[in-house]
């Protein structure tokens, strides 16, 4: 059918924006034009769909941020209001600090990891040690309590940490909620050019053990880890620390899962992931490892020595960082938990003692997945 009117007049007609003459023209036309009538329906439908969208109230933090910035004519306060309502201003400082720590960890560390491209690398590296497991159910409650408390205590640290761009993060572990200890360890140990030894934090009930799996592809790594966990009989795998993933650093590459494992299971998992020596090539401290990046190697300094997979009784582990291009030792693959020289790091952390074949209670383990930054050689 040949339409004699401009189609856009249908929109004007729908919105009541036509003058009387145009309105009459359109009405007369659509009475006999099914195409235009159909198009008018399409317009109405699209308009109605948008009108049905929610009108949100402005998050309180936005208003406060604006008013605060207006009142203090310095750099505007960049604030992202928390989606979780229970986090108030007092916790935002700690949360922002955590965000910064993670960003520093994932950007600086990622950038510094100038590992050559290659096959997927996966190494399970522990972040914490000797953590006591609470019940899963108590986690959320404790998280709330520790976060509030930590935020108050951390607020005074916030500026200094930011100022130094987190390189000299002197975080007291007592002031950190247990759920945010993962990046803290990494941050304090890898401050560039400085062998900062972070103050020790006694393991508190509820603190999980943090491990990181390094790989070229997080999705594959995660799939692999979950597969290995299932082969160990672990079926309950939680998407761990949701608040980290989302509110802390939504753009971060890593994801994390949370499981409950015994010490032996952790060692087995390490062994299985690190079975392929090639996968461990780029993690320092592991016998046979070859460093491509000094920054990553510094992770092995100080109290972090031997944490990344080396066994205490392995011949090369006690020196911490080893620039070694030794031939791969296939025999190490067949060793039991803790005996894998390539990184079956026993769960005792530190120098990585030989795993003791003893029953141990299950503890909470948060496994983070970190992706190497791919760089062209």
């Amino acid at each position: 059918m040949n339409c004699t009117i401009q189609k856009e007049k249908l929109t004007g007609y729908y919105d009541g924006e036509l003058d009387a003459a145009e309105r009459a023209e359109v009405e007369s036309h659509i009475a006999g034009c099914s195409d235009c009538l159909r198009e008018l329906d399409e317009i109405k439908s699209a308009s109605a769909a948008v009108r049905a969208l929610t009108r949100h109230s402005v998050p309180k933090g936005v208003t406060e941020g604006i008013l605060k910035s207006l009142a203090a004519p310095a750099e505007p306060v960049r604030m992202r209001p928390r989606r979780t309502a229970w986090l108030g201003w007092a916790t935002s400082a700690a949360a922002a600090l955590f965000v910064g720590l993670n960003l520093f960890y994932f950007t600086t560390l990622g950038k510094k990891e100038s590992v050559p491209p290659g096959d997927d690398q996966m190494v399970l590296a522990p972040q914490e040690r000797n953590q006591q497991p609470p019940s899963m159910e108590a986690r959320n409650q404790k998280r709330t309590e520790t976060a509030d408390t930590a935020a108050e205590k951390d607020s005074k640290d916030d500026v200094s940490v930011r100022k130094d761009q987190l390189k000299d993060a002197q975080l007291s572990k007592k002031e950190e909620p247990s759920e945010t200890t993962r990046p803290e360890k990494m941050e304090t140990s890898k401050s560039e050019g400085k062998a900062e030894t972070p103050p020790k934090k006694p393991a508190a009930p509820g603190d999980p053990a943090f491990y990181t799996v390094y790989s070229w592809d997080v999705a594959s790594a995660r799939e692999r880890v979950e597969k290995e966990l299932k082969s160990l009989g672990i079926t309950k795998i939680e998407k761990g620390a949701k608040e980290f993933d989302r509110t802390a650093h939504a753009e971060a590459q890593d994801t994390c899962i949370e499981v409950e494992l015994t010490e032996e299971q952790i060692a087995q998992l390490q062994q299985r992931l690190n079975r392929d020596k090639k996968r461990m090539t780029y993690v320092p401290g592991i016998q046979g490892a070859e460093f491509a990046d000094e920054e990553l190697a510094k992770l092995e300094e100080g109290e972090n020595r031997g944490r990344f997979g080396a066994r205490e009784d392995a011949p090369d582990s006690k020196g911490g960082i080893e620039k070694k291009k030794s031939a791969e030792d296939p025999k190490a693959d067949s060793n039991g938990p803790g005996a894998d020289k390539d990184g079956g790091k026993p769960m005792t952390g530190g120098g990585g003692g030989a795993a003791k074949a003893k029953e141990s209670p299950r503890k909470r383990v948060v496994i983070y997945f970190h992706e190497f930054e791919k760089k062209d050689k």
């Binding site: 399409e42 317009i43 208003t63 207006l70």
Partner: protein, 189 residues
């Protein structure tokens, strides 16, 4: 302050009255925030952009001539800020709310006309998704008309385009939106 019209508040803000500008913020922030949020499809970005827009507006209040409404000016600032922000952050034009952030996509409870309640949350999300796939100009115009219910004249002032262009662009944008919705959810009534 609450009884003063926008024009008066702007004048006082130009003279340095923080209280006057604060009242403007309180009065118009919801409108601006929702426009920005629907434009950039990202909650946290919308929060940041809204803050920046108002802060920038305050800093440049002396440049506001008052020829147009304060909201017209704020929309312009907010949309420009949105475009700049998104480009700086390298976000894609179409950002689905439904990638991995479950909480972000949850539509909070709100009061709506029961008679209009024909879509569920999932449908609204798809609408937002389709909106995010439109060209920026088309998205702006649909937001200003269908979300904020401004007249063609007001929209023309915000976007600095002729009124005729508002109509033609709106027509095209709605049909485009409808086509995208159809591809998501089939026939959308």
């Amino acid at each position: 302050m609450k009884d003063l019209p926008d024009r008066e508040l702007v004048q006082r803000a130009k003279q340095g009255s923080l209280e006057a500008f604060n009242e403007l913020v309180v009065r118009h922030q919801e409108k601006i925030f929702n426009a920005v949020y629907r434009f950039c499809s990202h909650w946290d970005d919308a929060c940041d952009i809204t803050q920046r827009a108002f802060i920038n507006a305050f800093r440049k209040i002396s440049e506001f001539k008052g020829d147009s409404a304060f909201t017209t000016w704020m929309y312009r600032i907010a949309f420009n800020q949105s475009v700049s922000f998104r480009r700086e952050s390298g976000r894609q034009k179409a950002v689905s709310l439904y990638t991995k952030d479950d909480e972000m996509v949850r539509e909070p409870a709100y009061e709506e006309n029961p008679g209009e309640r024909m879509e569920n949350d999932d449908s609204r999300r798809k609408v937002q998704q389709a909106l995010g796939l439109l060209e920026e100009e088309d998205r702006q115009i649909i937001i200003l008309k269908d979300l904020q219910n401004h007249s063609y004249d007001e929209i023309a002032a915000v976007l600095d385009i002729p009124k005729g262009t508002v109509r033609s662009r709106l027509h095209r944008a709605r049909l485009e939106l409808r086509a995208k919705l159809k591809s998501f959810i089939g026939t959308h009534r």
